[in-house]
């Protein structure tokens, strides 16, 4: 770098006659005011752009997005809850239907059983009546048969007595036959 600055009337002490920098251009105080002025202009311009237009807009977009996202998440949450409710209702209905079915089949079974028991009782009663009748008839038939036997025996005894030349004593024959029949 140059060690002996060559002064230029117009360009100041920072540039030599060839237009090359003398030392560090950063330290050239002739240029400070210019840079500071334009820097402040640039900063104010950026600040105004940001505060007037950019930041409210970006902030609004971000807020809107997060709002949309949280709304969507809430809606999804809601739908999920509805789905869960629907499933629970379905399960409930299924359980109810199953219980109802159980109850109906139990009732039907009970009704059938009652009918069946009644029918069986009825049948038993009828059977008992029939068998009582039959026994009575059998007893009657037996009595009749016994009476017939006694009759026949009396007649035969009288005939035998007559045939033997005796005189049938009806009372004696009756008592003898009865005694015999009873003795059986």
């Amino acid at each position: 770098m140059e060690t002996t600055p060559i002064d230029l009337e117009l360009a100041g002490t920072c540039v030599n006659t060839l237009g090359n920098a003398i030392g560090m251009p950063q330290l050239c105080d002739a240029w400070f005011a210019n840079q500071i002025f334009w820097l402040l202009v640039a900063l104010v311009a950026i600040y105004l752009i940001l505060t007037r237009v950019a930041l409210p807009r970006v902030g609004a977009v971000l807020a809107e997005r997060s709002g949309t996202i949280s709304n969507d998440v809430a809606a999804a949450e809601d739908l999920k809850r509805q789905a869960a409710d629907a499933e629970r209702a379905y399960e409930q209905a299924l359980a109810d239907a199953r219980a109802e079915g159980q109850r109906i089949s139990d009732e039907a079974r009970a009704a059938i059983r009652a009918d069946l028991d009644a029918a069986i009782a009825e049948a038993d009663k009828k059977i008992a009546a029939k068998s009582a009748d039959s026994e009575a008839q059998i007893a009657e038939i037996r009595d009749n048969a016994a009476a017939s036997v006694a009759e026949v025996a009396r007649d035969v005894a009288g005939d035998i007595v007559t045939a033997l030349g005796g005189k049938p004593d009806q009372a004696a024959i009756d008592s003898a036959v009865d005694a015999r029949v009873k003795g059986n």
């Binding site: 005011a33 500071i36 977009v61």
Partner: protein, 266 residues
């Protein structure tokens, strides 16, 4: 005149020149930082209002902000496009930084901090274009930025906390004997802040660009040109990183300093 030969070219070595030069090769790595009027002759004086290359590149940074944040977010899309995504990313990045580092009550300083961040970021990245002018390599620029932060922090500190702000220098958790010594150290460190804050940014950008130019000068020698170009590529990649990191560092330090102003207790 040689002035016409010498522009903001990537290759800065040229033969001749009465002042110096070794074997016809001379570097002018610092010439890229010269402030010159856009209109008129190269030798014209630079007044405070003169439209210079610094003006142009600052204006381009402003235009980039405009393009990114006004044109890019014009759609206000719920599902953002590319440019709007970048704008939202930058917004969220700096907003979160302010919120995390400085605190929720510092959010009202967010536009101010975001302005600094965007200006430095775009100035740094635009400076990486060939033939460009690095506005943030100038100490005048970074000193104004750093002083603005320093003044903001100091004024906010006193307005918010009154004399309690001086508690920043009085470390009440330290033993009483040590406190005066610590107070001196804290005071010095407080006033060194704007210096380090500004020189860190300007120094990084200036050094990187000067190194690029030096390597570019070597590219004029055929034998080492490939090495030189490789080196330029590598340094350029580093400079892209530095452009972002320095913008980030400047911003996060602003947040840290602002935290001291809002919550001066240690």
């Amino acid at each position: 005149m040689a002035e016409e030969v010498h522009t903001e070219g990537a290759l800065d070595a040229h033969t001749g020149g009465p002042d110096h030069g070794e074997g016809g090769l001379s570097f002018h790595p610092m010439d890229q930082f010269i402030v010159r009027p856009i209109f008129g002759e190269n030798g014209d004086p630079v007044h405070w209002y003169t439209v210079t290359n610094a003006t142009v590149w600052m204006a381009l940074a402003v235009l980039c902000v405009l393009g990114l944040f006004v044109l890019g977010t014009r759609g206000r899309a719920i599902v953002p496009g590319r440019i709007q995504s970048i704008a939202e990313l930058a917004y969220g990045f700096v907003y979160k930084m302010v919120e995390d580092v400085t605190g929720r009550d510092a959010v009202k300083f967010f536009p101010y901090i975001f302005t600094l961040f965007l200006f430095i970021l775009f100035a740094n990245t635009l400076a990486l274009l060939p033939m460009s002018f690095s506005t943030t390599s100038h100490i005048a620029v970074t000193a104004v930025l750093a002083l603005a932060v320093f003044l903001t922090v100091t004024i906010v500190g006193f307005v918010k906390n009154g004399t309690k702000f001086l508690g920043l220098f009085w470390v009440s958790s330290a033993p009483l004997v040590l406190r005066p010594i610590l107070a001196v150290i804290e005071l010095i460190s407080y006033f060194v802040r704007p210096v380090s804050h500004s020189i860190r940014l300007a120094g990084n950008i200036m050094a990187g660009h000067a190194v690029l130019k030096v390597f570019a000068g070597f590219a004029a020698i055929a034998a080492i040109a490939p090495v030189s170009i490789l080196a330029i590529t590598a340094i350029y990649g580093l400079e892209v990183l530095v452009a972002f990191i320095q913008a980030y560092v400047f911003t996060i330090l602003t947040c840290v300093y602002l935290k001291d102003a809002l919550h001066p207790s240690h």
